[in-house]
Structure formats: C-alpha cells, structure tokens
C-alpha cells in the first residue's frame, strides 16, 4: 500500500516536464511549492513537524504533510522515530537530500541581486546560518580564527571560522569567543542591512562580533533597468 504510493508519487506525477534536461527533472522532483524550503529547514539536522511549520511562515499543515510525504517518496527525506523515552517523530535529509545545499546557495546568491530583495522580512534560524555558509567571503576573513555562538529562540548554534573557511552547525555555545542572543531577523538586519550592532545582545568579545558581521558582503544590486514602456 505504501509502496504503491511511493511509486505513484515518484514516477507518475500528474504534471511533469517531458524533458531529458537535468534541470527539468530537478524541477519535477523538487520544483513544487515549499519543497526546497522544507529541505532548507532540514539542512542543519532533523526537525519535528511543528518546528518546520513554525519556521516556514505561511505553510499550512496539509501542504507540509504532503510535501514531506513526496520528499520521502523520492528518497530525499526520511522519517525517523527517536528511541524512547523521547519517542517523537522527526524528519531528516538523506545524503542525496543534503546535496541540495549548492542549489540553495546559488539561488540565494542570484536573488540577492534583485531590486526587490528585502532582508528585513521574517527569517528562520536555519536560513540565517545557511546564509553565513553561502555569503562568507574568505578574503575578508583573512587569517581570522574564531568561534561565535548564537542563541536564537530556543535553539543554539555555533559558527567557526579558521583558515578562510566557515563552518556553521547546530550545537551549544560553550567555549565560543562570543555569544549573540537575538532573533534571527535582528541578526540578519545587522549583517545584511547595515543596522547597528546595538540591537543585539552580545556576550564576550564584542570587537570580534563587530568584525564578524562584515564578512558577508552582498553582491551588487542589478541596476533598476527594468524596461520602461516607451512614451
């Protein structure tokens, strides 16, 4: 019964591009609305249904259920039941699913050039951390070596910079050089919209944080050359 559903969802989708192009096939697999954003929210580790719903503003429960089922059917997401006592169900990316990160990175970099991109909209913690991976500029970091902890809502994360590389992951903040406690949009406002550092709760090396927030330059906006109608 379940296997029928798997093959049905994976192979005989109603609306598909009949195209050998890999791009078209990718869109057949993960081109549905919300699909890529669900995968984004799983990039830093397994999540529960309610967490996903809370961090995907505007998704409805039935659509989330449907997307998770389809992503599971194509082998991008697996459903895991944690062992007792915490016998809750979580969703995780498969290895192949996790390989979607370059897709998110390239899409994000392309879109930050858009004249309509608004970095002050709501933002999930995972989005922020992944954006650090995407937008990190090794040249600006130079030989900086530091770790910074983040407390965002109920979650904690750590970012390590060393030898021109950046690692961002879920984890506790003990032993980091500085700890930032703030909502994700507030941090994004400082890093990506030039808002003052004063809005953040910073513990530890404040000078380090002041430098950290300069390591993620946005590409130049495309000129507002939207073709106007000829008079």
């Amino acid at each position: 019964m379940k296997s029928e559903k798997i093959t049905e969802a994976a192979t005989s989708r109603r609306r598909r591009y009949d195209d050998a192009c890999g791009t078209a096939h990718a869109l057949d697999l993960i081109g549905d609305r919300w699909a890529l954003l669900v995968m984004r929210e799983l990039l830093l580790g397994p999540r529960r249904f309610a967490e996903l719903r809370a961090d995907l503003p505007g998704i409805s429960a039935n659509v989330l259920t449907q997307r998770l089922g389809e992503l599971e059917a194509i082998g991008v997401v697996v459903r895991q039941r944690l062992p007792p006592p915490a016998a809750v169900q979580v969703y995780a990316l498969t290895d192949w699913g996790a390989e979607c990160e370059p897709i998110l990175a390239v899409l994000g970099r392309w879109a930050t050039r858009s004249p309509w991109h608004d970095p002050t909209l709501p933002l999930s913690a995972v989005s922020l951390l992944i954006s650090f991976r995407t937008m990190f500029d090794p040249a600006r970091a130079g030989d900086l070596r530091a770790t910074i902890g983040f407390r965002i809502g109920a979650g904690s994360y750590r970012v390590a910079i060393a030898a021109g590389t950046l690692a961002a992951e879920r984890g506790n903040v003990v032993g980091t050089d500085a700890v930032i406690t703030a909502p994700a949009p507030a941090i994004a406002g400082v890093v990506y919209a030039g808002q003052p550092l004063a809005g953040l709760d910073i513990a530890g090396d404040a000078a380090l944080v002041a430098r950290f927030v300069t390591l993620f330059p946005l590409p130049a906006k495309v000129g507002v050359t939207v073709p106007a109608a000829a008079p």
Copy 2:
C-alpha cells in the same frame, strides 16, 4: 499603464513566501512553472516566440506569454524588435537573467543522481549544449584542443575545447574539426546513455568525436534506498 503592470507583477504577487531568505526570494521571482526552462532556452541567444514554444514540449501559448511577461517585468528578459527587414520580435536575457546559468547547472547536476532521470526523453538543442558546459570534465579532456560543430534541426552550434575549458555557443560549423548532424536526443543518447556512435551523422575527425562523447561523465546514481514500508 505598463509601469503599473510591472510593479504589480514584480512586487505584489499574490502567492509569495514572506521570507528574507535569498532562496525564497529567488523562488518568488523565477519559481513559477516553466520560468527557469524559458530562461534556459534563451541562454544561447535571443529566440522568437514560436521557437521557444517548439522547444518547450507541453507549454501552452498563453502560459508562455504570461511567463515572458513576468520575466520581462522583473528585469530578467527583454523584448527586442529586430531592425527591418527582419522586423520580428525576439526575447533575450538581460545580464542578470544570464546569470541564472549556475542555477541550471547545479539543479541539473543534482538531478542526474536521481534514479528516475531518463536521458532518452525529448531534449532541446539548447539543453544539450548547456549540458556540455555543465557536465564537462576537464580532467578527462586533458590538453585536448579541438572544435566540434553541431547541426541540430535548423540550428548550428559550435563547441570549442582548449586548455581544460569548454565553450559552447550558437554559430556556424565552418572550420570545425568535426561536424555532427543529428537530433539533440540522439546526441544525448550517445553522450549520456552510452548508445553507439553509429546513430550519428559524423563528418570530419570521427576519432575526435569518439573521444568527445566521453568527456561528460554523469555522477553516480543514488542507491535505490527509497525507504520501503515496514512489513
């Protein structure tokens, strides 16, 4: 009047993600059905409406009209009227629009690992040429230096390989070391599905073509570990 339509289409779309994440904004801009594939068809130069429709199997005229209008409104496509005598209208990518190529490349590479990817489906000439850019393996090319011409339907293209780089563009085939005349799916079948070279019409250096078709290895398929239902 036109400007109203522009701001309407670009800023007040009905169904949008309220998310500062760059990926989400990219999907707001070019996440609609067919949008990326329309951009793909323009990557090798301006095209006319009927050409686009012919190379996007299954798109309907009104959807193509709508997509082109939206892509124009956001500044990704421009409409050009060629000067007389060939006073026809063509659609072209803007500079920003052309920067979508890494998106197509990354999506395509990710999807070729799919167990359901079928390289024998229909394929447009542009898709094939762009796939050469995406899948080219410099290590396999070594110090090969060659040019190959393609006659696909009514169009002609040329691929130049030198110093471990590949260039693929529209252009005539004169002066190339070999010329392949065949439909795009037939060429794709040889390069990506291991079909015999015999099916292609080859003029010039046949040994070069035999090597050329080995320069585009596909990544390993993901194991068929689609989670089965527990018995």
